[in-house]
Symmetry: C2
Subunit: 430 residues, 2 copies
Amino acid sequence: MNAQASADSVGEIRALMRKLGQAAVAATAPLALSDTATRNRALLAAAAALHAHSAQILAANEQDLHAARDAALSAALLDRLKLDAARVAAMVRGLEEIAALPDPMGSVIAEWSRPNGLVIQRVRVPLGVIGIIYESRPNVTADAGGLCLKSANPVILRGGSESQHSNAAIHACLLEGLKAAGLPAAAIQLVPTVDRAAVGEMLSGMGEYLDVLVPRGGKSLVARVQAEARVPVIGHLEGNCHVYVDRDADAHMAREIVLNAKMRRTGVCGAAETLLIDRAAPPALQAELVQALLAAGCEVRGDEHVQGIDARVIAASAADWQTEYLDAIIAVRVVDGVDAAIAHIAHHGSSHTEAIITANMATAERFLARVDSAIVLHNASTQFADGGEFGMGAEIGISTDRFHARGPVGVEQLTSYKYVVRGAGQVRPG
Amino acid sequence: MNAQASADSVGEIRALMRKLGQAAVAATAPLALSDTATRNRALLAAAAALHAHSAQILAANEQDLHAARDAALSAALLDRLKLDAARVAAMVRGLEEIAALPDPMGSVIAEWSRPNGLVIQRVRVPLGVIGIIYESRPNVTADAGGLCLKSANPVILRGGSESQHSNAAIHACLLEGLKAAGLPAAAIQLVPTVDRAAVGEMLSGMGEYLDVLVPRGGKSLVARVQAEARVPVIGHLEGNCHVYVDRDADAHMAREIVLNAKMRRTGVCGAAETLLIDRAAPPALQAELVQALLAAGCEVRGDEHVQGIDARVIAASAADWQTEYLDAIIAVRVVDGVDAAIAHIAHHGSSHTEAIITANMATAERFLARVDSAIVLHNASTQFADGGEFGMGAEIGISTDRFHARGPVGVEQLTSYKYVVRGAGQVRPG
């Protein structure tokens, strides 16, 4: 990273990125035409390489951690950056799971014929060249590389400078996998410079090569990408997630789910940020929820009613209902039943993930039908908002986008979808 | 339209458009929660109103035509603007067809369960508030209004100033339909001013209210929307469509399809703009194709080989391979077989719609698999690129976008789709 980047170096970065773009485009057809078995062979060979080279990967990661400590990066960032045997094993397992998934490519999504004899099929095809810009967590290199390979899309990965050595070591294993299967190395490219000009190029200089951009990182990265990008972006906006505890909730289940949704990991997009409690819920349950959160080390910001439950509750301001804390802080409000909870979520939510806890099936179905979020859950923790937990092997992010269409846009294409998850008290371990 | 639009009037337009936006958002929940029968009742009542008020609609259209003739608009534009009994009847039929379509809303697209007992469903939901900006053709008012109503999305329609009276008369019928079914009038709103500031507001001032924008009109409108819009756009880019006539084509079928693909209507996005002829095709067929186009009044711009066929063929320049003429002009090139045709399309095409004419099934499948366009056809005319012809009742446009996703983005979400159409020589009548 050169603080004195000159016009020359910007020109060099531009030329470098164009070369990556051209190589990715050249890999499009060979990948799209490769068969399932070949791509799976590459995934499994890459998994084997990751396993075989664990020691090198951990050594490379130690280099990154050393530099990060020297730069006095935060403990949270060091944790995201750090690899250990278990995390390498998780990457290996992730690639194996992706290999085991059915191949979406070429499958016939719909088929019909017309009175004039035309037979029309809608079939799956790759998206095209994907650019991914991410930060800190080196496992994204393996997850994103694997997902793009399975879906037959060339990918250009631009990881954070703080994880450059780890990313390079992981990428080398992915290349081994591609080579073993006879697939082009340009199927998974890692931008070989940490110069920030490369990010600018991906945002606005590579429209000719990139079909879609995925920002995977903090709010400022996502905001920059959404503002500057000249190619379609898989938006991954805020997760201001809600848990609503209804009057008919099982008290034990409510307590377990609320604690898990907020505290299992506070820095993920599926972490609960606001707890809504039904005014008609038993006072003992209301108190138990608030006190369990406080006891777990969570700061509670509540409305007047909630402040009356425990002296440690801080007064919530209007801004609290809008805030994605990504921290051990929660806003708590008492509402008049499920419809008021739905109205609160419609007004303050970010349409990401919301859960209702109730034993009343009619109330649950009302919530699931009327809350317009990408994921709505009944009797389960919002922390299940994760591709791996959905059985997708891994994910590249949680999209809060609503729409798409290719070809004629008729009634069906004017719809979106959401995920409805029905549980029996499940919380997410680990 | 006031050429001296003052700051005051801009302020008024802004206030007006905000009011439309708020009303549309307020209609979101009642529409989303309305049942199929109610929405279909509104569609059929609107169709009946259109039929009953044909005379008023044609009188309003005459006002628009009168003003258009005074303004010396082109014959092509007058044709797009003009309504007659047959075109009103087509709008009525369009609404009836939309009513007859299955209701996509609430349907379960996929369902699975996880080892921890969670049951996950992906269900269809409305997109949200849709804004549509269109030009000239008043039937878009009925088609787009009907499609959005069926899919339970509030819509804000902004038609061209040249068709304002026609649009208002048609919109009044749609409102009758909504009223008859007890649905909110704000489900289908027509911007009540032709001030161009309203378009600017829709592009960049209504992000708070609009979930997606659809530009439906000429290249300059689409380009402006893509450049200025602050909300997602259903892109509807150029249709630089190709027909490839293979060595194994049936001569009669090739001639009929080529003529139809180019000349049935030259101003639609599915019109063929480039004809690729296999060098190994019989010279008599090559000559027949070129001469049939010339005889039909089409200007032919060819490579050297094609110029040798007929003295009337003009030399094609490099720009011709990239051009969407939307006129009675075609670029013709001889290529070395199907792979050269695929390569030409990959280099010059716009990924919209391409057709192959051949009796060789292996060659056809190679083309269908390898050409990466929204629609690929075998032995059928590119003019079938139309939602109505696909059995969708109507369409709001042909999207050349590739991607979307909501919720976790895994392997399946990293794919797009295309339409593969297999025919037996079908050409599009009318």
